[in-house]
């Protein structure tokens, strides 16, 4: 049977190979072809080649970036280095042109114009002209740069179809305006073609290559014992030896992995393992892990950040991913609508169920019939529990606590009021017993003598009893209060003492001096002879 077949899916079976080198070369060649269709495929020599290529790409990219940075510094635009890099990155993603081409082009234009803004405008024009005429970007940029320097011959040879008089005038403003008018939108339109899409894919793959290259360089730098770049060559050879013996089970992995490996932090550790072990299996595992970390990076990639100017970012070719993203958004809106509809239906069902809820009916009826606030609150609380209404329950709980507090306060107040009333009654009784008058609510004194006394006159026994209660003893019988106080003072040793002092005339001054000195001594000793707040 003739082997005339057409298929887009091919898998490699290394076991079927008779010999290694020859067939692996053929395999590598075939994988490259497949890789261009499916994406970069990792396997055997491909891995080694990819590692070398990645490091070279990173080195070239870094070199170009540094060269452009120096150029910007030399033209007095050092402060715009970051801006220009961001601009080139955005142009790369927007137009699917590699920064390897954009940087030299921008640098050429910067040399010619000396202005970042003019260079940016000229670069965009050059991209459009390149897409419209089919000339490569470098040729177009060189022609524009020469035009800016006063030589428009190259511009005439671009085949743009511009008026000869315009070109001959040498007025770059006119020429650029004419080019813009004629080729506007060509660069973007190119992306709609299959080739354009593939260019976007190429940009993504190239970026991934540079990123991986950076990771590898970092990793290998770490691996060098003295952290110097000089030892990289040996280490890299070791790595290459190991990689070359890796089997091809990862061959089926597609470029998706390459396009997403953005996290270099994993790579040093993994490659450390690989190099330390010198074990092909370990290398395989390490690269497997690196690959998965790349895929995980895609997982964390924010596809939602795509804007009109970045519509082709972050995907295999960008376009299918954006379609998928749009579809996902549309699906999400649909699901949200369905969820809202379900919620509405659920609310209606809940309302219907409430209508036939006997417990609720009973509580509502009781609530309507209740007259006191406390009962109402309790019923509302029960309804809140029934509804599982947390906010209402909290409110009712607070109201019930407030009602309890008010009730307790009222009880306390009543108790205090009764006490006051009782005391007032006793005072009034005493006043009346002494023949006095008590004030009315209108402060009118009422003469109660004509009224029947409700208070029994106090007897001596009463006072005796009172004295006994006050002093704890009944030995003061027959004494009045003053006498009892004197007696108690005597008992406690604080007896009254009468001192009679006779002072003769000549020693009167001495006595006076003695008193004064005593007062001074008392003052120095801290004894105060004056009352509180009184001046000494």
């Amino acid at each position: 049977m003739a082997n005339v077949v057409v298929s887009a899916i091919a898998t490699f079976n290394g076991k079927a190979l008779k010999k290694g080198q020859k067939d692996i070369s053929a395999f590598d060649k075939s994988v490259k072809k497949l890789g261009r269709t499916f994406g970069v495929t990792f396997s055997g020599y491909q891995l080694l080649a990819f590692s070398k290529k990645a490091i070279s790409a990173f080195a070239a990219d870094e070199k170009a970036a540094k060269s452009l940075a120096v150029q910007l510094e030399n033209t007095g635009n050092a402060f715009r280095i970051g801006e220009v890099e961001a601009y080139i990155a955005s142009m790369q993603k927007l137009y699917g042109i590699l920064d390897d081409q954009l940087r030299p082009a921008f640098q050429t234009l910067l040399n010619a114009t000396g202005s970042v803004t003019l260079s940016q405008q000229a670069l965009e024009t050059a991209l459009n002209v390149s897409a419209g005429t089919g000339k490569d970007l470098a040729t177009v940029v060189a022609a524009i740069a020469k035009g800016a320097s006063g030589t428009t011959t190259s511009l005439a040879r671009l085949g743009t179809g511009l008026d000869k008089a315009t070109i001959a005038s040498g007025d770059m403003n006119k020429i650029m305006a004419a080019l813009d008018a004629k080729f506007k939108g060509q660069a973007l339109a190119r992306l709609e073609t299959y080739s354009g899409k593939m260019d976007l894919l190429k940009v993504a793959a190239a970026n991934a290559t540079e990123t991986i290259g950076k990771g590898l360089v970092d990793a290998l730098t770490i691996l060098s014992r003295d952290d110097s770049i000089e030892n990289l060559s040996n280490d890299f050879e070791n790595l290459a030896t190991n990689i070359s013996s890796v089997v091809v089970s990862l061959a089926k992995l597609t470029d998706k992995i390459g396009s997403v490996v953005n996290n270099p932090s994993f790579k040093p550790a993994l490659l450390l393992l690989a190099l330390a072990s010198k074990n092909p299996t370990a290398v395989k595992a390490a690269f497997g892990y690196v690959a998965l970390s790349g895929v995980a990076e895609v997982a964390t990639k924010n596809y939602g950040t795509s804007t009109s100017t970045q519509k082709n970012m972050g995907g295999y070719s960008g376009i299918p991913l954006q379609k998928a993203e749009n579809k996902a958004i549309k699906d999400a809106v649909t699901y949200r609508k369905q969820e809202n509809d379900l919620l509405k239906k659920k609310t209606a069902v809940d309302q219907l169920r409430d209508k036939f809820d006997l417990e609720r009916i009973g509580l509502t009826a009781a609530l309507n019939a209740a007259t006191d606030e406390e009962t109402k609150l309790r019923l509302k609380a029960q309804l809140a529990i029934l509804d599982n209404n947390e906010a209402l329950a909290k409110k009712i709980l607070a109201e019930m606590a407030a009602a309890d507090a008010a009730k307790k306060f009222a009880e306390q107040f009543n108790f205090a009021l009764e006490s006051i009333k009782s005391m007032t009654a006793k005072v009034n009784a005493m006043i009346l017993s002494l023949g006095g008058k008590v004030p009315t609510r209108n402060n009118d004194l009422i003469d109660l003598t004509d009224q029947a006394p409700s208070f029994v006159p106090l007897t001596a026994d009463y006072f005796q009893e009172l004295a006994t209660q006050l002093v704890g003893s009944s030995s003061y019988a027959g004494m009045n209060v003053s006498q009892i106080a004197t007696e108690r003072a005597r008992e406690s040793g604080n007896r009254s003492l009468d001192v009679n002092v006779r002072i003769d005339s000549p020693s009167g001054d001495k006595f006076a001096q003695l008193v004064a000195e005593s007062i001074q001594v008392a003052g120095r000793s801290g004894y105060n002879t004056t009352g509180a707040g009184q001046l000494p």
Partner: protein
């Protein structure tokens, strides 16, 4: 300092799973398109009266030049959703369109090496450099001694030209071995759709994978 990396086996297992998932998706996506390619290829088969009349009369016995029969050629074109046997270069394909009949294969590829037919009166071995005969009886260095030396030129001239695969810059070149008149012609017309379907399937796999392995930051 020793480094311990855990989970590598699981990672590889996960990659295998993802790989298989992607393969299945791709196969599912391209299945109807590949059927379309086969159907279209059958449509390119010329009827018996559109080829050299002598070809339809030739013997169909094995070992001789097969005669052309449109129905046989059509029947020999088909689509296989499975996998074929591994080629000697180590590859095997799946979801492939085949052109299996002898006369169909000849119609498919005739003239793609020498579009004007083989030059008459040449040596059988046309390679450059020093040629060492593989055996003493080899006739590789002899001239062709055909009674009809222009037959190949006439045969190819009677056929329609082969169709090349459209060249896609940096993606696919129009190689000689992908030129043809039946399945390769259909493939040249429909392959972009297949590639798009494959890209979509790959992206769908990636999106699903991302969703299922979404890493959330711990609170």
């Amino acid at each position: 300092m020793p480094v311990e990396i855990v989970g590598v086996k699981d990672v590889l297992k996960g990659l295998e799973f993802m790989d298989e998932d992607m393969r299945q998706r791709i196969r599912t996506a391209i299945d109807p398109l590949m059927r379309g390619v086969a159907f279209k290829a059958k449509g390119f088969v010329k009827s018996n009266i559109d080829v050299l009349s002598g070809w339809t009369k030739a013997s169909g016995n094995p070992g001789t030049f097969p005669k052309y029969d449109a129905s046989v050629v059509r029947a020999g074109i088909g689509y296989n959703p499975g996998e074929n046997k591994t080629f000697k270069n180590g590859f095997k394909v799946s979801n492939y369109v085949y052109n299996a009949s002898r006369s169909g294969s000849i119609y498919e590829v005739a003239g793609r090496l020498n579009p004007q037919g083989r030059a008459p009166f040449t040596f059988k071995h046309e390679g450059s450099g020093t040629y060492v005969k593989k055996s003493a009886r080899s006739r590789a260095l002899e001239e062709y001694k055909s009674n009809n030396p222009f037959a190949s030129q006439q045969f190819i001239a009677a056929l329609e030209p082969v169709t090349k695969q459209p060249k896609i810059k940096d993606i696919r070149s129009a190689g000689r071995k992908t030129q043809g008149r039946l399945i390769y012609k259909a493939w040249a017309q429909d392959s972009t759709k297949v590639y798009d379907a494959i890209l979509n399937a790959i992206n769908a796999t990636a999106i699903d994978f991302n969703k299922s392995t979404e890493i959330t930051k711990a609170a």
